[in-house]
Symmetry: C2
Subunit: 326 residues, 2 copies
């Protein structure tokens, strides 16, 4: 399938996450996107005092926008200085609700900003053209054009990390829904635990890697380092870890079945940290799904090809003007 630029171009790509900013100088050619240099740093954010008022929270969000713009601008300059030729543009992916057409970061629960005109703020700091994207859709774009879903017209890319959201490729186009589409982590699957979003029963509250670590820690009475520790305990036969893992598998199965019934993807690409668990995750999901599907189109389940670099590679594709259509 590949991509559609004719010549090879260098761009700076930035993926702003809730805890870390990943940036790379990327060479985008007709058939691939190759990171030439990489940078990572913590995502800066304004401190919020416990019990802060709504106004104080809004002010912190605005301050976080300034800090992030500074950090992204610095990364762009640093990587640009290392380029071996002209840099064509910068692509920046951010989390939450994003209006790509207007270049506005509409909302991020995690970073606390609202209606931040990130594209204009960054463009004012550099003479490069800046393209703003959303992290999940950017990851999906990379997997759909170059990775585990290449060649598919109907695919879902499902990163399972601190949160859970999906990039929905249908009929060859990435769905936006005004920037709100794809929040599969927040569908109700019928359990009684409360989610950070305020609702009860969300997939994310039992099946994200954060939920796995949190729920296992609560049951064994000590903190754990993350979902990988739960996975390791599952492999030693720890019944508590197995129970928590099963809950996550049940939740993910139900989420995937919803996606299959509504959107009929040919391929579902599992990404994020949890996908590193490989067959501890994918094989049982495949079995559970096979047992539940009735008339629906059966999807192929795969793990992501680009891991946590997908967002950055997707931002690089956006920077050379590759959109989600084909």
């Amino acid at each position: 399938m590949g991509i559609t630029v004719e010549d090879t171009r260098q761009v700076v790509a930035v993926d702003v996450g809730g805890t870390e900013i990943k940036a790379a100088l990327v060479s985008v050619g007709p058939a691939d996107a190759v990171p030439l240099r990489r940078r990572r740093r913590h995502t800066p954010r304004a401190a919020i005092a416990e019990g802060a008022s709504a106004e104080e929270q809004a002010a912190a969000g605005t301050r976080t926008v300034e800090l992030v713009v500074d950090a992204v601008h610095e990364l762009i300059d640093e990587l640009r200085a290392e380029a071996t030729g002209p840099v064509h543009a910068a692509g920046v992916a951010v989390p939450g609700v994003v209006d790509e057409d207007r270049g506005i970061a509409v909302y991020s629960a995690n970073l606390g900003w609202r209606d931040a005109p990130l594209r204009a703020l960054l463009a004012a700091r550099t003479d490069l053209p800046v393209v703003l994207g959303q992290d999940i859709r950017a990851s999906g774009l990379a997997e759909a054009r170059l990775g585990a879903a290449r060649g598919c017209r109907d695919a879902v890319v499902l990163p399972i990390g601190t949160g859970i959201a999906a990039a929905l490729l249908v009929d060859g186009r990435m769905l936006r829904g005004g920037g709100f589409a794809g929040e599969i982590g927040h569908v109700d699957i019928g359990h009684q635990e409360r989610c950070a979003c305020g609702a009860v029963g969300c997939v994310e509250a039992v099946a994200s890697s954060a939920a796995l670590a949190r729920r296992y820690a609560a049951r064994i009475g000590r903190p754990v380092s993350g979902a990988a520790e739960v996975a390791a305990a599952v492999q030693t036969g720890d019944p508590v870890a197995i129970a928590v893992w099963e809950d996550a598998l049940d939740g993910l199965t139900r989420a995937i079945l919803l996606l299959v019934t509504l959107l009929a993807p040919e391929v579902i690409v599992l990404g994020g940290g949890l996908a590193l668990s490989g067959d501890l995750l994918v094989a049982p999901l495949r079995d559970r799904l096979a047992a539940l599907i009735s008339f629906q189109r059966v999807p192929v389940l795969r793990t992501a090809e680009f891991g946590d670099e997908a967002g950055c590679l997707g931002a690089a594709l956006l920077a050379v003007g590759i959109q989600e259509d084909r």
Copy 2:
């Protein structure tokens, strides 16, 4: 918003349902689609003996295809004879999984056919160009271009009848998913009743008009004429009818919440027979939805503008080459 033909054209539009075929001679102009003549007849189908083998069932499906092609062809000829000018084309909408591009009716549980090349079969019987569509997406197209969702880029049209499925308009395009998209009636909402599709917990099994009638009849121990009878009993305060109605409202609320979380429609158009219940349906759905939405985009709920004529009007739009894109 309107549609995009420049002149006014007459077409024959046919909507093949599980029990009835609706057909019309329709005048499609730049801003509207007006039925000039209408015809209805029962949908013919081959009889299947109880306990028929898979081969016998397949043979009956093939025979039903022939009977339906005969009937549709007759309706086209009859309506064409009544036209006041040249007839431009015929648009035919059928239920189930449809491959619009190839003109093939891939599967209908209700009519028992598989991989029926309906467009080619009909084109062989008439010198008119024939366009094949799917009934739910055709209804959605009519409501999106001319009816209750006109002007929207993100909308869901949800006919609630014998079954439940949705036309999904996202970013101005109707989703197809290889013909499989939109089966919201078959998502699991956690109840224990079995659905005709073979799965347990489907929305359709408690919230379709057929389910309402069936579940009420089972509780009062006598047959009822349909969902309208249940609605009438609800209005007299019958506690059994109210309990069955509440189950349907709960199921529809959960289905709508899923659509809102995944696709973020601005407008949800409730259609089909159940939408005729008006405020017995829409007002409580609106209240329940408001109580459950957290961060999602809140949709406007409306009833369909074209009722059970939407499929026919959508088929007329398809006949003049209007697709779901804008």
